[in-house]
Amino acid sequence: MPPRQPIESGVPDPIQYMHPVMAKNYGAWKYHERPRPGVLCHTAKSGDQVWTVRAGTQRQMDLYTIRKLCDIADEYAESHVRFTIRSNIEFMVSQEAKVKPLVDKLVSEGFPVGGTGPSVAMISHTQGWLHCDIPGSDASGVVKALMDELHEEFINENMPNRVHMSTSCCQINCGGQADIAINIQHTKPPKINHDLVANVCERPSVVARCPVAAIRPALVNGKPTLEVDESKCVYCGACYPPCPPMQINDPEHSKLAIWVGGKNSNARSKPKFHKLVAAGIPNNPPRWPEVATIVKKILNEYKADARDWERLSDWIDRIGWPRFFEKTELPFTKYHIDNWRGARSSLNASAHIRF
């Protein structure tokens, strides 16, 4: 029998799965309100309304969790759901009376309802030790540990504005830009297994991959391999994915760093990248307590001092970096001063100083 040819169908049409009130009022919505944390109410120009109940999930879900969510959707909602970019599940209903029983059921089954408005949203993350080939840490575990700590901030809307967080297990940063990002930061150069390089790695492309031109071809014990100029190396790990014998991950020396002030929205200010504020934090499973302590300190100071609608970056723009470091009690070091290309634009070329 000839092999089956794939049906190259691409991205499926969502209309077939969409809640009928949403499909009916497609492109014709008027306004929305947030009746309580975790619940949105959208009103269409036709007068139709749809209530959305948002709940947190563990993202990496077993069949039983997904089927339980389906059971809840069938019994308490209207059998239509969607997922947000931050792995929350949303249940849509066309009657307000269904909202409370749905919320109660979700909470009783262990799914926190929240993540709307000025709350700490679910942390964007990737695979980590569970499935990635280059991770310096876990992803699901860090997120579970942190969301346990931040649960109250997920189910309430008590922050000045929304807080998006992410975690990443290498410096490729799959988790993405965020108000607070927790990323691996390596502190040693790769350890090279010279016996394997020639057979495993396409050496010219590994040389080309290095952002600081620290890798060059070499002969070790008569075998062709690669060597790293350790005085140039910035420990980024870019060489490791194309060349696994250049091991960058280190149980002791792969640390975590915290970056703040990233923002994808154009609201008020233009989008921003996050900035380094803390590093050298131990990669400490299963609950990464040192990370949680710093994240909570930053969040508490932001919550106490930022004005309504200020994202973390807006708050820091207003109070200035010296006060940020003062309030969060994080050490400011020479490593916070950028020296990569374009770094001069991050220096204070003015007499604007807060006292």
């Binding site: 563990q58 990496q60 792995s87 008020r268």
Partner: protein, 413 residues
């Protein structure tokens, strides 16, 4: 009788606490008597516990695909298969979700049933690139799993140097701030490049993301090579009765502090009668005031999209945001959508021909200069493409008069 569970004292600590636990879910699969995935999940938990103890990862990649395609499967082979043989192969199928990630329970249950029969029972909704991640198939089961998922109307997403799975926001399906038909744009673009997705042959990855307004819920400026963002070019809509109601409810100070003074271009003013004055030509469509006063304010009616090119994360040259190449494109006819598709084709062709290996569009543009890129893809330069004109005087202006004439001709046209 199945394998007995490995001791997992580290992972066990992630079962307590209020957030849903992925460990509890993994254990449920590992203790699911008689299921084909049970032993796999027992050993998967064993390997993960080992990682928690040693702080090292134990997966390596490989080469694996389904018949007819070259990408879309993330192969994972265990480096500690001698200790955990049942999970020695644990591959992921990246499957593209419906645009906007809408599902009904029937289709979710059908997907679960396939994965119960052929896979590990573990599914991530969704990966960071926007795929449904069916995590954990053996090499033998990858093809059967794909065939059944494919028959349901779902297709493999991208991996490697290819057009990747895209994302679009909920947009017009539910959001009044939507200025575009996000799901139509996403499907138009991604489904036009399925050959470049399924048979990876580009210099590196290429991502599309579509957001219906500049709140950019899809992070398209930071995370995609081609970012399509809904906007409008007429005046925004103001319901002055609702403005008055909002001021009445929240107070003038709140409105001044949280709406008027937060406008980045000082385009708002509160009138003495508690209505709102808007300097529309100076509004930059940032969305802040509309986010705050959802009933009173909304986007204008002459909608379209802004297109930005070149967003990506760190490697290799440092982060780049997408930058504007088309300030406004009206998408009100099928011909207009066709033009958008042709622009994407031109850009991907140029990228394929000119980027270095493992170079993203943002890096390519950094290397050759935006003006050269704009010229190559057949667009005209526009002051909306910059924050400010050049500051460096190291410049040759050989064709200045000719270039100035082009601008004057365009203005006169």
């Amino acid at each position: 009788m199945s394998k007995s569970m490995h001791k997992t004292p580290m992972l066990d600590q992630l079962e307590s606490g209020p957030w849903p636990s992925f460990v509890t879910g993994l254990k449920r699969l590992a203790t699911d008597e008689g299921k084909q995935y049970q032993d796999t999940m027992v050993d998967l938990l064993g390997q993960l516990e080992l990682s928690y103890n040693t702080r090292k990862g134990y997966w390596k990649g490989g080469t694996l695909s389904v018949f007819g395609y070259g990408g879309g499967i993330i192969p994972r082979f265990s480096e500690v298969a001698d200790q955990f043989p049942a999970s020695k192969e644990f591959h992921t199928l990246r499957i593209m979700p419906p645009a906007g990630m809408h599902y009904n329970t029937k289709i979710l249950r059908q997907l679960c049933d396939i994965w119960e029969k052929h896979g590990s029972g573990l599914i991530a909704f969704h990966g960071q690139s926007g795929d449904i991640m069916f995590q954990g198939a053996t090499s033998e089961k990858v093809q059967e799993s794909f065939d059944e998922i494919n028959e349901l109307g779902f297709d493999l997403g991208g991996a490697g140097p290819a057009v990747r799975t895209g994302m679009s926001c909920v947009g017009a399906a539910r959001c009044e701030q939507s200025c575009a038909n996000e799901q139509k744009i996403l499907r138009l673009l991604v489904n036009n490049f399925l050959d470049d997705m399924h048979r990876p042959a580009l210099p590196y990855k290429f991502k599309f993301k579509v957001s219906g307004c500049s709140n950019d819920c899809m992070n398209s400026i930071q995370r995609s090579d081609m970012s399509i963002i809904g906007t409008w070019r007429d005046d925004m809509n103001v319901d002055q009765q609702e403005v008055k109601a909002f001021v009445g409810q929240k107070g003038r100070k709140y409105v001044i502090d949280n709406v008027i003074t937060r406008c980045p271009t000082k385009a708002l003013s509160l009138n003495d009668d508690d209505t709102l004055a808007v300097d529309n030509p100076n509004c930059v469509r940032c969305m802040h005031c509309i986010n705050v006063m959802t009933k009173a304010l909304s986007p204008g009616d002459d909608k379209g999209v802004t297109i930005l090119i070149g967003g990506k994360r760190t490697l290799k040259i440092g982060d780049t945001m997408g930058t504007v190449v088309v300030p406004f494109m009206k998408l009100d006819t099928e011909e207009a959508y066709e033009e958008l598709k042709e622009l994407a084709e031109t850009i991907i062709d140029f990228f394929a021909d000119n980027a270095l290996e493992h170079e993203r569009t943002g890096e390519m543009i950094e290397r050759i200069g935006l003006a050269n890129f704009i010229k190559a893809i057949g667009l005209d330069v526009d002051p909306n493409m910059i924050s400010n004109p050049r500051e460096s005087s190291y410049l040759r202006i050989d064709d200045w008069d000719k270039e100035a004439a082009k601008w004057n001709d365009r203005k006169a046209a």
